[in-house]
């Protein structure tokens, strides 16, 4: 395909436009802290709620809720539509987190449907790296998982009043419980890249996975 992407000259409007973009960017950011922040959405998990950890009946842990937040809106999106747009973009991310890590019964090796909302090529690439993109590396050794942190922060590109692309900054911290009641903490952080092509789909990813003792993710953050 041959396309022409060309820069035109609008000299008198440059400074005004750039100032406007700064203001729009700033107001979008402020706005997202109130009305565009979606309410924390509970997600079905395999862990009972509350979950008994380590077989100790006195220690219970609630699975962390999934928090989705619009942190950057670059462009225009009517205020009344932001909540539904954010929900639409977050849906494939939530689906991946559920099918790839949090949902289903443990122990298991397979995570079917983890990439159902990825483009075909992205799903193929993600499947090849399933030790990071799903819980495949640990799944067979675990009897249960409890998410202790689940956040999705969205940056949305919305020219002409319609969202076209988005980056989802994802943090998932899971407590994995083995049959011998020992625990391991899995943290998956990074970004998913999404575009709206019909529905929203993940077309790229850049993720990192770390393992550690329970609480190590929070200790590293401090």
């Amino acid at each position: 395909m041959l396309s022409a992407m060309t820069v035109t000259v609008r000299p008198l409007r440059v400074v005004v436009a750039l100032l406007a973009s700064a203001v729009i960017g700033a107001t979008a950011l402020v706005g997202c802290d109130d009305d565009t922040t979606t309410a924390p959405t509970p997600s079905p998990t395999s862990a009972s709620d509350p979950t008994t950890v380590s077989g100790a009946p006195t220690l219970t842990m609630r699975p962390a809720r999934l928090e989705t937040r619009l942190v950057r809106l670059a462009g225009h999106l009517p205020r009344e539509r932001r909540r539904s747009v954010v929900a639409s973009i977050a849906r494939p991310v939530r689906s991946w987190l559920r099918a790839g890590f949090v949902g289903g019964d443990y122990p298991r090796r397979d995570f079917p449907g983890a990439f159902a909302d990825y483009t075909r090529d992205a799903a193929r690439l993600a499947s090849r790296q399933d030790e990071v993109t799903t819980n495949a590396a640990l799944g067979a050794d675990l009897v249960d998982v409890v998410p202790t942190r689940r956040t999705v922060r969205l940056s949305v590109f919305a020219p002409h009043g319609r969202a076209a692309g988005a980056t989802a900054d994802v943090t998932l911290v899971l407590l994995g419980i083995r049959a011998d009641e020992s625990e391991v903490e899995l943290a998956v952080t990074g970004q998913l890249y999404l575009t709206r092509d019909g529905g929203w789909q993940v077309f790229g990813f850049d993720l990192a996975r770390t393992l550690g003792a329970p609480g190590s993710y929070e200790r590293r953050r401090r």
């Binding site: 041959l2 060309t6 820069v7 035109t8 000259v9 436009a17 940056s155 996975r209």
Partner: protein
């Protein structure tokens, strides 16, 4: 008596020292180290079609009031990027290259834009190189400066030192703003190989500019913000979804993995003007080498 006082003073000093040490030095049996060593496993992937994306980057010679898309193409670079591997190849084409322009006979390649805009320029480059660009990106002097300004300037590596009124470029790394960047990419008289070195400098600026863009995009929402600014000042024929995916593809390029070459050629006269007879064998060899993976196995020959 003095002896007793002296001993008492020594014991007192010793007791104070021990007390202070005991309070401030942690127990050696339980040393505390707050660092950590964590193994990180990574996964990266991007859906791109085609696997190698070819972009024709044109710098228009338009002066104020002249049409950007129908002025000569002053800088011409065919850029191949491979988002899967992070490799890229920049092939600089001398603007005075004397080649076939479809429908117009032989002429300088930069005249193709005057005759038929970016599409004809792309066709002329395709005829010369054997690669048809997937996208053509055209910018003007002032929009180039503005883009450099909008990303906070660029740390550009210069192989040569030169100076113009108010602008001095040192050999090595120079932080340049929009105006200085324009001087850097336009200078040719003070360079040993004139227009060829200028084309190489322009390719180098793309590499260093990409590094700066990647730095901006690494901030939360940085890519979206940069694209929005870009989209507001650019006439774009591609849809916003395709633009977003293209931007993500470009950001996969590792500046360390970019080959920056310029096609050689000899100068002669044609139609009363100085022209470059490009080394078409070299041009085709570059295209064939980089065509499938955007890498030059043997670098710039």
């Amino acid at each position: 008596m003095n002896n007793v006082r002296s001993r008492l003073r020594r014991w007192t000093v010793l007791a104070v020292v021990l007390a202070v040490v005991g309070l401030t030095v942690p127990d050696s049996a339980t040393p505390r180290f707050d660092g950590s060593l964590v193994k990180v496993e990574n996964a990266r992937g991007l859906d791109t079609d085609p696997g190698v994306v070819w972009i024709l980057a044109l710098g228009s010679d338009a002066r104020p009031g002249e049409p950007v898309l129908r002025s000569r193409a002053d800088s011409i670079h065919l850029v191949g990027i491979n988002p899967r591997t992070g490799h890229a190849t920049i092939i600089g084409i001398p603007r005075d290259s004397y080649v076939d322009i479809p429908g117009y006979g032989r002429d300088k390649i930069n005249a193709a834009m005057v005759y038929g805009g970016p599409q004809l320029e792309a066709a002329a480059v395709a005829g010369m190189m054997g690669i048809t660009p997937d996208y053509v990106f055209t910018t003007s002097f002032w929009d180039f400066s503005r883009m450099v300004w909008s990303i906070g300037g660029v740390d550009v590596h210069s192989a040569h030192a030169f100076s113009e009124p108010l602008v001095t470029i040192r050999e090595g790394v120079n932080h340049v703003n929009g105006v200085e960047a324009l001087v850097f990419v336009r200078e040719r008289y003070q360079l040993p190989n004139g227009d060829f070195d200028r084309s190489r400098n322009q390719g180098q600026f793309m590499v260093d500019g990409l590094r700066q863009v990647a730095s901006v995009a690494a901030e939360s929402g940085g890519l979206e913000r940069a694209l929005w600014t870009f989209a507001k000042h650019t006439d774009i024929d591609v849809g916003p979804v395709e633009l977003y995916r293209l931007a993500r593809a470009v950001l996969q390029v590792d500046p360390q993995l970019v080959d920056n070459c310029v096609i050689d050629g000899g100068t002669t006269f044609a139609g009363g003007a100085s022209v470059v007879l490009p080394d078409l064998g070299q041009a085709r060899a570059y295209a064939q080498d980089a065509g499938s993976d955007a890498t030059l196995a043997s670098g710039c020959s």
